[in-house]
């Protein structure tokens, strides 16, 4: 049950056209699986549906980016015309003068978009991994997000019905993993990595370091190994 894959390319080689992928990308490169994204670009699978917090911001406006760094994010998949749709909470550049690759493609009608409030996005992914098909949330009531959705009152307050999100693959980034896939994230890079790991059929992680099983404190594992299918060490 050794889950270590030899290369990033081999780790994503079986992603078919039309896949639904969850890919971490919170705001900056922290937590973003830059190597797996580049491997997926080289692999070339098309018509992808990507679930991610942003739609590729780090490389455009430097959110969360060390000055001088030019991190890779899912913007390269959009530029390479591999993306059919993005489901995100923060899809566009906050600076209208510096639009993202996604934004240009969206305005040209080349890619679809579903904007989801960030907490609802996290909760929908969690629901997908936890066997909860749908839940009610107060977020979005009385806004555009409520269009076409059931509104229901509990104890006098209105809530929206939201449904679970699942994916075929997740491309994630962690700090350490043991050979069984038990994983720890570093700092705020846990963000969506920690939940996307539970909701995709095949979970692929790039990590700074792979250690032997038993080297991670069992009380400090963030993602238990049963969720993780493939691990690639960043050279």
């Amino acid at each position: 049950m050794n889950k270590v894959a030899p290369t990033f390319g081999e780790a994503v080689a079986d992603v078919p056209d039309g896949s639904v992928l969850m890919i971490d990308g919170f705001a900056g490169p922290g937590g973003t699986p830059q190597n797996l994204i580049r491997a997926l670009r080289d692999h070339g699978a098309r018509d992808l549906i990507i679930v991610s917090n942003t739609a590729g911001l780090a490389s455009v406006i430097g959110f969360g980016t060390i000055p001088g760094d030019r991190p890779t994010d899912i913007g390269v998949l959009v530029e390479n015309e591999q993306v059919a749709k993005i489901i995100a909470s923060f899809p566009v550049s906050p600076s209208p003068s510096r639009p993202t690759a996604f934004e240009r493609a969206y305005l040209e009608g080349k890619v679809d978009l579903e904007v989801v409030p960030q907490g609802t996005l996290a909760e929908r992914i969690r629901a997908g991994g936890a066997g909860i098909p749908a839940f009610y949330t107060p977020t979005g009531v009385g806004t555009l997000m409520a269009e076409g959705k059931e509104v229901r009152s509990f104890e006098g307050r209105d809530y929206l019905l939201e449904t679970a999100l699942k994916a075929d693959f997740a491309l994630l980034r962690a700090h350490r993993a043991d050979t069984l896939g038990n994983t720890q994230y570093r700092g705020t890079s846990r963000n969506f990595n920690g939940v996307m790991a539970t909701s995709a059929d095949t979970v692929i992680m790039e990590v700074d370091e792979i250690v032997e099983s038993g080297e991670i404190d069992p009380g400090a594992v963030h993602t238990p190994g049963i969720y993780v299918d493939r691990i690639v060490e960043i050279a």
Partner: protein, 222 residues
Amino acid sequence: MQQKERLDREIVAMRVARELRDGDVVNLGIGIPTLCSQFVPEGRSVTYHSESGVLGYGPMAEPGEEDVDLINAGGQFLAPSPGMSFFNSVEGFAMIRGGHVDVAVLGALQVSERGDLANWMLPHRGIGNVGGAMDLAVGARRIIVAMEHTDKSGSPKVVRECSFPLTAPECVSLIVTDIAVMQVAHDGLILTETAPGWSAEDVQALTEARLDVSPDLGDFRL
């Protein structure tokens, strides 16, 4: 009247910071709100929450000390602080929706006289970043808006009805701008403080919503 001096962003942040109480858990949005943490009065211990997945973070990181694994929701680099904790996005938003965040300080494009908040999308752009704003607007126990009183073209941002897409209806408790402090009451907005040199009439002239003037109207309390 447009020549009267407006308060700068730090003063607005300082005024908001006075609203934070000892023990509060506070989420600060992008822009003026981020500045508030510098101005919390002595003796008050405030715990900062960011939906990036951290509680109890320190001040902004010094140049050269940036860590891509320690950021706030605006992608700014944070310094560590003893007693902080990290968690994933599910937990971060469970804290927000579940009522565990006492105060959220948010920027706004428009606020209505009922406290409706619009801060995520300019309609002409046709596409917007909702981020965590809708969750914060419905989940934090108290929403304070910190913003300029008018937009770049001079149009009022405190309005009768928001014309921009809403973030959440009837969620704002207090509005602090560069010329005024307004409470959102059941029957409308109450003007309680004005910037030095600004009269209630001056503020009303730049405000679309009708302002009730508090009998205790005074200068900004800093």
